[in-house]
């Protein structure tokens, strides 16, 4: 999940610092943010509560409805086992979207801890951590993820672990250079001069500042995280059958495309919408953050 923009940031080893004030307002004013949030809200609601409203169990097989076209009882058709495609789409959404958010949260957690530790402690600890990050960053992150899956074996949990393990290094480096900027900020210096200990300054001033910056960059990557989870599951390296997941559903419906092309539409458009929403939100957030730092 190396977007070109991220590569540029990585090479510059610097990034604008964003104050909190007005960020949310500028973000919400953007049309792309509104559309993105609307789609995201729709998808998340569907994934969270969909299976309570559409009460067909996603794993129930109905031999009479094998590969059935869309109808009132199966709005999106039924798959090769006669399982309801809508129910599976909703069930899979929980896994696809939940996985993306879990990966993001894991990456943020690890990189914050490592980056702040490196930036605050400095010295030998920082040197060792930075060299380790150099090594991780020397490998293409997705190749690293594939390698981790290869060692641990295929599966949903392992896939999440692999994605976190392969992408936290970039954020850790970002967090560390961010810490160095924040440390020199007025409020941090005055807090230190007022005799407040490093630990409290870190938790009260540094962590929120660095975390905000990381979240802005991470939101830009959310779309590619969704793509990678779906892509690896599509290859059979992630969620295993009979569990539903959008990428895995895509792989299954692919086999029956000639007889039941409608099966492919549902997971394909779900993935597309999710990535679109993530990209819209990410871009709007970046634009909202950049306005301030430019002026």
């Amino acid at each position: 999940m190396m977007t070109a923009e991220r590569l540029l940031l990585l090479r510059r080893e610097e990034f604008p610092f964003t104050p909190r004030r007005g960020l949310l307002r500028r973000f919400m004013e953007r049309r792309s943010a509104q559309i993105g949030l609307l789609i995201a809200a729709f998808l998340c609601t569907a994934a969270l509560f969909g299976n309570w409203i559409w009460r067909v169990p996603p794993e129930r097989m109905n031999p009479e409805a094998k590969l059935a076209p869309p109808s009132l009882s199966h709005p999106l058709g039924a798959d090769q086992f006669g399982r309801d495609q809508l129910a599976r789409l909703l069930d899979g959404g929980r896994r696809s979207l939940g996985a993306a958010l879990t990966v993001l949260a894991g990456v943020l957690l690890f990189s914050l801890i490592a980056g702040i530790a490196a930036g605050m402690i400095g010295g030998l600890v920082e040197q060792i951590l930075m060299r380790l990050l150099d090594v991780l960053l020397a490998m293409p992150s997705m190749v690293l993820a594939l390698a981790v899956v290869g060692v641990m074996g295929v599966g949903y949990g392992n896939l999440l672990l692999a994605l976190v393990a392969s992408s936290w290094a970039y954020y850790a480096r970002l967090a560390r250079s961010c810490v160095r900027v924040v440390r020199m900020r007025g409020d941090v210096v005055s807090a230190r001069l007022a005799g407040i200990g490093w630990l409290r300054v870190a938790s009260g001033h540094i962590v929120p500042g660095v975390a905000r910056q990381l979240i802005i960059v991470a939101t830009l990557d959310l779309g590619s995280v969704i793509i990678w989870i779906a892509g690896l599951s599509f290859l059979g390296l992630g969620v295993q059958p009979p569990d539903a997941e959008w990428g895995a559903m895509l792989a299954e419906s692919r086999l029956y495309f000639t007889v039941a092309p409608w099966l492919l539409c549902a997971p394909a458009s779900a993935i597309f919408l999710a990535v679109l929403a993530a990209n819209l939100i990410g871009n709007a957030l970046r634009d909202a953050a950049e306005v301030q730092s430019g002026g």
Binding site: M2, T3, A4, E5, L7, L8, L10, R11, R131, L132, D134, V135, L136, A138, M139, P140, S141, M142, V143, L144, A145, L146, A147, V149, G150, V151, G153, V154, G223, I227, W228, A230, G231, L232, F234, L235, G236, L237, L250, R254, F257, T258, P261, L264, A268, I271, F272, V275, L276, N279, L280
Partner: protein
């Protein structure tokens, strides 16, 4: 300095890649013997191979022995086929290189075309249309695009083949899938660079001296916008290897990536190691080349180093 740093990083990476083997379950010696056709090896045979591969020694000694063999191109044998990993990967390299080269050409072409349209009509409808397409394009995963292309172009209209054989005639569809996403993304970067260059003093001078808009774009704005663009391309080639693996699997392209995916499913550790090693080398070399290229192209960087 840069080289020394790269070398140190490579050593670190090699430790990580080697560590995949002891971290994974299963006895490498046993798996190797089984792959070579010895289904029920006697304990003595396993023991002999363990000694030969230095697996009975301490972990640092194991690493050094693995490294010295790896440098000589011996990455042990695939646990699936029993053939040497280096030969297996080498056999599939041309197909992957072909795919990557065509992808790169197409992506740069798409990026140049779209960025030019955007920069020629900034903030008017062609620019808006390009950015709209880019926004949609960035949201379609390459493998989804590939899937749809196979279903509609190949199966419905009989253009191309479902099972690609790695020849030049079949490379277009998978390359187009990979290139599209990169192309629209790069176009956005290039557009920003072009617009920045268009608002610079030297373009104003050129305008004042009567140069036409198209000439200003091609002659003055493009070279300046290309510099950061080169760096991105250099780093993207390595980063692309992950998506290449997925696209190769979708199109059954007989390259290194699809081979690696089957190896992952089968937990064929030596092949996985080989794949990661190969990708890391490509990645490191490409970013090094990108640095060298931008140093040659950008006089400011050259002076900075002296």
């Amino acid at each position: 300095m840069r080289l020394l740093h790269t070398l140190l990083t490579l050593v670190g990476a090699s430790i990580l890649i080697w560590a995949l083997l002891p971290l994974a379950p299963g006895d490498p010696a046993l798996r190797t013997l089984e792959a070579l056709g010895n289904d029920n090896p006697r304990p003595a045979e396993v023991e002999a191979l363990r000694r030969e591969l230095n697996l009975d020694r301490s972990l640092p000694a194991q690493y050094l022995s693995w490294l010295s063999r790896a440098v000589r191109g011996d990455l042990s044998v695939s646990w699936q086929s029993g053939r040497p990993v280096t030969a297996e990967i080498g056999k599939r390299l041309p197909a992957t290189f072909l795919l990557a080269a065509v992808t790169l050409l197409l992506a740069v072409g798409i990026a140049l075309l779209l960025a030019f349209i955007s920069a020629a009509f900034p903030h008017r409808w062609p620019d808006g249309a390009v950015r709209f397409v880019a926004q949609l394009g960035a949201s379609v995963p390459a493998f989804l695009l590939g899937l749809l292309l196979i279903q509609f172009v190949v199966i419905r209209y009989g253009v191309g083949r479902v099972i690609a054989d790695g020849s030049v005639g079949d490379v277009w569809l998978p390359a187009a899938c990979l290139a599209f996403g990169r192309g629209v993304e790069w176009a956005q970067l290039l557009r920003i660079g072009l617009l920045e260059a268009l608002s610079a003093r030297y373009t104003l001078t050129a305008r004042a001296r009567g140069a036409r808009r198209r000439r200003i774009l091609a002659r003055f704005a493009l070279p300046n916008a290309m510099l950061p663009f080169f760096a991105v391309i250099g780093m993207s080639i390595g980063a692309m290897l992950g998506s290449v693996a997925i696209i190769e699997s979708v199109f059954s392209w007989p390259g290194v990536g699809s081979f690696a995916v089957t190896a992952i499913t089968a937990r064929d550790l030596p092949v996985i190691q080989g794949f990661v090693l190969f990708s890391t080398l490509i990645f490191v070399i490409c970013s090094l080349l990108a640095d060298v290229a931008s140093a040659i192209l950008d006089p400011r960087l050259r002076e900075g180093e002296e």
